[in-house]
């Protein structure tokens, strides 16, 4: 007698520790092999875009914090740039430098969470604690600057809420000095760990062309071998003044664009961020930080699309102004939203256990996917 077979549907989430938030993945299985993955999102939808229409422009900033809550500084950064472009505001140079320093520190903090939790997803718990120990020091730097550890409301339209704390430069230099050896330690603990490589190399390979067609940006795109970084290719703020490299995936342990590449690109990016912070600290000019903050934010009629290289990819703000004090429409092009859409494509033909490895390597934050 022939056995009857059929596909099975398995729900992963909405409450599952390795979905990194409230996300439901509908796995369609042929035995243990994935035939398709359908992500179901929207569990964290807080009507951010609609809500902004009832706010004035500066009132939107605290809400941008709550989208990608692991990279709040960068969300504010992008929003400030968009409104400044719309109003044609020139920001003092000191402000630009401080923004870059904060942005790059935030990138390191965000990548540390990404890498730590990725290790934890795959069963390596120790690197998670090491990463959070280092991230804690960055959060401390943010705390002495603006009083908040996660949601800052620090970067304002045309300026900043506070100048740097007198100890900030010294503490940041100390952090950089002590963090470099820790990165090496992380490599020994996790990056070159044989079990870790076995779980991630050759898994979830994303070819460059597919990545571009899916609109993938940030570390995920660079891991596929595309040298594309908005800090270099569409420069904003003062990034053109710094000397840094853009690491790309090379398939060192497996194939270009596999999970290991996506993981390791973040390690390499942290080193480059340290380099940028060091240069910025050396060059930072004196000056006022609040001289360009407008008394009344009332942009002229028009539309603008401004974008920045968020730790997760291209974060874009599309703002339509009708000439009043409230934005007429804000659409956020959230990098995680676009990056998650490729899940089904990446998982096809892999095992159930690889879904966790692939999802972790994309590094999503549900706060900005659902907005």
């Amino acid at each position: 007698m022939a056995l009857k077979t059929e596909e099975m549907v398995l729900n992963m989430g909405p409450q599952h520790p390795s979905t990194h938030g409230v996300l439901r993945l509908e796995l369609q299985l042929d035995g243990e092999i994935i035939s398709d993955v359908i992500p179901h999102i929207g569990y964290l939808h807080r009507c951010f875009e609609k809500h902004c229409e009832a706010m004035t422009y500066p009132q939107v900033i605290p809400y941008t914090d709550r989208m990608d809550y692991l990279a709040s500084m960068y969300n504010e950064f992008g929003y400030a740039i968009a409104v400044e472009k719309l109003m044609n505001i020139q920001v003092p140079e000191r402000v630009e430098y401080i923004r870059v320093i904060m942005g790059e520190l935030q990138r390191i903090a965000s990548h540390l969470v990404a890498l730590g939790t990725y290790g934890a997803d795959l069963g390596a718990f120790t690197p998670f604690l090491f990463c959070f120990r280092d991230r804690e020091r960055i959060l401390h730097l943010f705390e002495i600057t603006c009083g908040a550890r996660l949601l800052y409301n620090y970067i304002w339209i045309g300026g900043l809420s506070h100048d740097l704390h007198p100890d900030f430069i010294r503490l940041t230099k100390e952090f950089i000095k002590e963090f470099r050896p820790n990165l090496k330690e992380l490599n020994e603990l996790l990056s070159y760990n044989k079990i870790f490589i076995d779980r991630t190399a050759h898994v979830g390979v994303l070819p460059a062309e597919a990545a571009i067609n899916y609109g993938i940006t940030g570390p995920n795109l660079r891991a596929s071998g595309v040298k594309w970084d908005l800090r270099r290719d569409d420069p904003y703020s003062v990034y053109h003044k710094f000397d840094f490299e853009i690491p790309v995936g090379s398939g060192e342990k497996g194939k270009t664009g596999d999970c290991w590449d996506r993981y390791f690109i973040r390690v390499l990016e942290m080193e480059q961020s340290l380099k940028i912070i060091e240069q910025a600290i050396d060059q930072i000019p004196d000056g006022d930080i609040s001289s360009a903050i407008p008394k009344r934010v009332k942009p002229p009629e028009g539309q603008v699309y401004a974008r920045v290289e968020n730790p997760r990819g291209e974060l874009g703000y599309f703002i339509i102004s009708d000439g009043s004090v409230n934005p007429y429409r804000i659409k956020v092009r959230a990098p995680s939203f676009v990056n998650l859409a490729v899940m089904g494509e990446l998982c096809k033909g892999h095992m159930i256990a690889d879904v966790v490895a692939i999802l972790g390597s994309i590094d999503i934050v549900l706060g900005e996917i659902d907005r």
């Binding site: 999102i41 939808h45 067609n213 899916y214 291209e314 859409a341 659902d370």
Partner: protein, 156 residues
């Protein structure tokens, strides 16, 4: 690298009926207005033409223009009849490093726009979002379901 104006002239030559206007007056970035039912053909051309190669769709957003006739209901909420809904496209060529903004407006009572998700896979979710939050119907979309709101959310 080509400027938006050069691309507009190229499009105007090829699609005289569906490419209507090149706007540079108020906005920060110029944009091109295109017929909603022909947008897929124009995008296909922009994607395939070897001198343009817009290989990446950066952003797609639905907008309620709220330019119809406004009345209030019993609870004081605006009810709008007529006017238009718009879709904005931000395209980019990673190969040639040029950018382009397209806009298309569709009738609010019958909001139909041709889907571009067969050209760029990433349009799939963006169009679902515009459908979900603005009610714009994307013709020939492979999977037009709600995305942020629950699937059984009432239309209204």
């Amino acid at each position: 690298m080509k400027t938006a104006e050069e691309i507009f002239n190229l499009l105007k030559e090829k699609f005289s009926g569906s490419v209507t206007e090149f706007k540079t007056d108020k906005p920060v970035e110029p944009f091109i207005i295109i017929n909603p039912l022909e947008i897929d053909k124009v995008c296909r051309f922009l994607y395939e033409n070897s001198a343009l190669t817009f290989d990446s769709l950066v952003n797609l957003s639905g907008v309620d223009d709220a330019n119809g006739e406004k009345t209030k209901d019993q609870s004081g909420f605006d009810i709008i009849k007529g006017g238009t809904l718009s879709v904005w496209y931000h395209l980019e060529s990673i190969k040639f490093r040029h950018k382009l903004v397209l806009k298309t407006s569709t009738d609010r009572e019958k909001p139909e726009v041709a889907s571009v998700s067969e050209i760029w896979n990433c349009a799939n979710w963006h169009e679902r979002e515009a459908f979900d939050l603005y009610g714009i119907i994307f013709l020939n979309h492979p999977d037009l379901r709600r995305i942020l709101m629950p699937y059984d959310w009432e239309t209204g």
